[in-house]
């Protein structure tokens, strides 16, 4: 009665994930080489274009919406910062934007329920609570960071400790950097025999981004297969017991395992639509997914030359943890994103045109305007 599993044996899938992870780090290292090949003119131009924090935020949103993956966009940001092309200060709003941009995926997933009103209302609320929380977190923490530098200073201190422990090499060449740097250097050397200057830089960056994208896509796909039974078991137990801290832990662990917060949050959408998971119980899982997805940038930082790459990856993690600490513990504050998402869902049901306006407005029009005007 049940379909036979057509997939690879578990051990082989595990080995494949190992290779893909290595490929991902090679991609990040190659990206760094490609960016360096562009030269200082490009670097100055990039810094200039995102020197306004709101423009940086908008760039983060748009990039993530375009690639449909905050893992890819934050790994790219780590590559830019790690190569010295982008400062941590300029990159902070971009990683915050990536957080907002990634929520478009589950919002789009909720549209699959649009023909059934009650189901859609629940699914849309579940999807948009992620948007609302991330917008709230940015609204609270971006001004605070700009005024005090609290996140980047904390991340720098933490990075110093980690570099001291040898987790990341900093300016010295760690074993991980050497291992992933060798194939990246070999590819750069190979391509430099036929190309040079800007064309070489473009080819390297496109190739690097393709490697990062393909590797992350297949890591996610294979890890999803590897951990599907465990995810299912965890979800079943969670639904039976309710959300809370355990929901955050499940969201975090599932996202670390599948390397995609979009996968985790998109799993929640049909459960919410069907009514087997409440919005209040789905919310902490979403928050855990926010933290879990930052592990990709942390992994990427292992492949870059400068400690700043690790700093920006840690800023991403600390930003998401701080967002939870600010919004989740106090019930009246927690009710804000929940209530807003419920209101948005009600409006979406009552006025279907509002759905398109919301998605296009938040994820395309506003960030494009911000990027163009600022």
């Amino acid at each position: 009665m049940r379909s036979a599993d057509p997939g690879l044996p578990t051990w082989l899938r595990g080995v494949l994930v190992g290779f893909l992870l290595y490929g991902f780090l090679v991609g990040v290292s190659l990206l760094e080489s490609g960016i360096e090949t562009f030269g200082s003119g490009f670097q100055d131009g990039l810094i200039e274009s995102v020197s306004n924090p709101i423009a940086g935020l908008c760039a983060g949103i748009l990039t993530t919406v375009l690639v449909q993956s905050s893992s890819v966009s934050t790994a790219t940001i780590v590559g830019l910062v790690g190569s010295g092309t982008l400062s941590v200060e300029a990159a902070v709003p971009m990683v915050m934007g990536a957080n907002i941009g990634t929520t478009v995926t589950n919002t789009l997933a909720s549209l699959g329920h649009v023909r059934r009103v009650d189901e859609f209302r629940r699914a849309f609320a579940g999807a948009t609570v992620h948007d609302v929380f991330n917008v709230m977190a940015v609204a609270l923490l971006l001004p605070l960071e700009l005024a005090t530098g609290i996140l980047s200073r904390a991340a720098t201190s933490l990075a110093d400790v980690l570099v001291g422990m040898g987790v990341q090499g900093g300016s010295t060449s760690s074993p991980v950097k050497q291992a992933v740097g060798a194939p990246a250097d070999a590819l750069t050397d190979l391509l430099s025999r036929v190309l040079s200057g800007i064309p070489l830089a473009i080819v390297l960056v496109v190739l690097a981004l393709s490697i990062v994208f393909v590797c992350l896509t297949f890591i996610t796909r294979n890890m999803r297969q590897l951990v599907a039974a465990r995810v299912e078991s965890a979800m079943n137990r969670l639904i039976g017991r309710g959300g809370g801290i355990m929901g955050i832990v499940v969201g975090l662990v599932v996202t670390v395992l599948v390397q995609s917060s979009s996968i985790t949050t998109s799993i929640l959408v049909p459960l919410l639509g069907a009514g087997v998971l409440t919005l209040a119980n789905a919310f902490p899982i979403t928050l855990g997914a926010n933290v879990g997805t930052t592990v990709t940038a942390l992994l990427a930082s292992l492949a870059v030359d400068q400690e700043a790459g690790l700093v920006i990856a840690l800023v991403h993690t600390l930003f998401n943890i701080a967002g939870i600490l600010l919004i989740y513990p106090v019930e009246r504050v927690r009710r804000l994103p929940l209530g807003t998402a419920e209101w948005l869902a009600k409006e979406a049901v009552d006025h279907r045109s509002m759905i398109v306006a919301y998605i296009i407005g938040l994820f395309v029009v506003l960030p494009t305007l911000g990027l163009v005007l600022l």
Binding site: M1, R230, E232, S233, A234, G240, V250, V253, V269, V276
Partner: protein, 226 residues
């Protein structure tokens, strides 16, 4: 949550199978409790709360199965759709068997007592044969044993015919209502228990679009028409 531990290894559908097995075991328990009240003179006040408790477990099990199926499709996608639809269909049958056990207990609660009637042996024979179908169907379903399912199915057909004849006889009988009505209801309820077990067997033998519907070809697929 056992995301990394061995307990997390069970596929969500394994959990569904385990839940269905537990529900069927509870159904068998409920039918046993109703039997004790109807045929063995057991105190209704004593056994009915136990049946109610078992029935509540079955109802909760049905909800858990449905939730687990939604979770499975959300996590694993649509690859197992035929299995999911089948589980969705048969979990209702399993739950209904429990309901009919409750109806049988209700007969005892209304004062029906077959423990000292003349035809006790006949009635008990039908009861036991019908109740025995439940674990046998469960076994054939759990093992996906097509040959076993056909054997149980043949017994089901005989029992359905027996129950139908008994109801028809009661309808045509001149005996008083307090004699015939309990017998008609007993056979009607047992017929439904058997019919829902038949649906469970159909999940072993039939594709999802023909669940609950048998024809002669499927009943005897190994017989060469020539």
């Amino acid at each position: 949550m056992h995301l990394f531990g061995s307990r997390g290894d069970a596929d969500g559908l394994d959990t569904v199978e385990a839940q269905l097995s537990a529900m069927l075991a509870d159904d068998a328990t409920s039918l046993g409790l109703a039997r004790a009240a109807l045929f063995e003179g057991a105190s209704v006040g004593e056994v009915r709360p136990r049946l109610k408790e078992t029935d509540q477990r079955v109802n909760a099990g049905e909800q858990e199965v449905r939730r687990a199926l939604v979770v499975h499709i959300a996590v694993a996608g649509a690859a197992d759709s035929p299995a999911l639809l089948t589980y969705m269909s048969i979990v209702k049958d399993v739950e209904r068997i429990g309901d009919y056990a409750k109806n049988l207990m209700d007969l005892a609660r209304m004062g029906v007592d077959f423990s000292r009637v003349e035809d006790r042996a006949d009635l008990l024979g039908v009861y036991d044969a019908a109740a025995a179908v439940v674990p046998d169907a469960a076994e054939a379903f759990a093992a996906r044993d097509a040959a076993g399912a056909r054997t149980v199915l043949a017994r089901c057909e005989e029992l359905l015919a027996v129950c139908n004849r008994a109801v028809e006889a009661a309808a045509a009988s001149d005996r008083p209502g307090h004699v015939e009505v309990p017998r008609a209801l007993l056979h009607r309820y047992l017929k439904r228990v058997v019919a829902h077990s038949t649906n469970l067997l159909s999940a072993v033998l039939m594709p999802v679009d023909r669940l609950d519907y048998f024809d002669e070809d499927e009943r005897e697929p190994d017989v060469d028409p020539a």
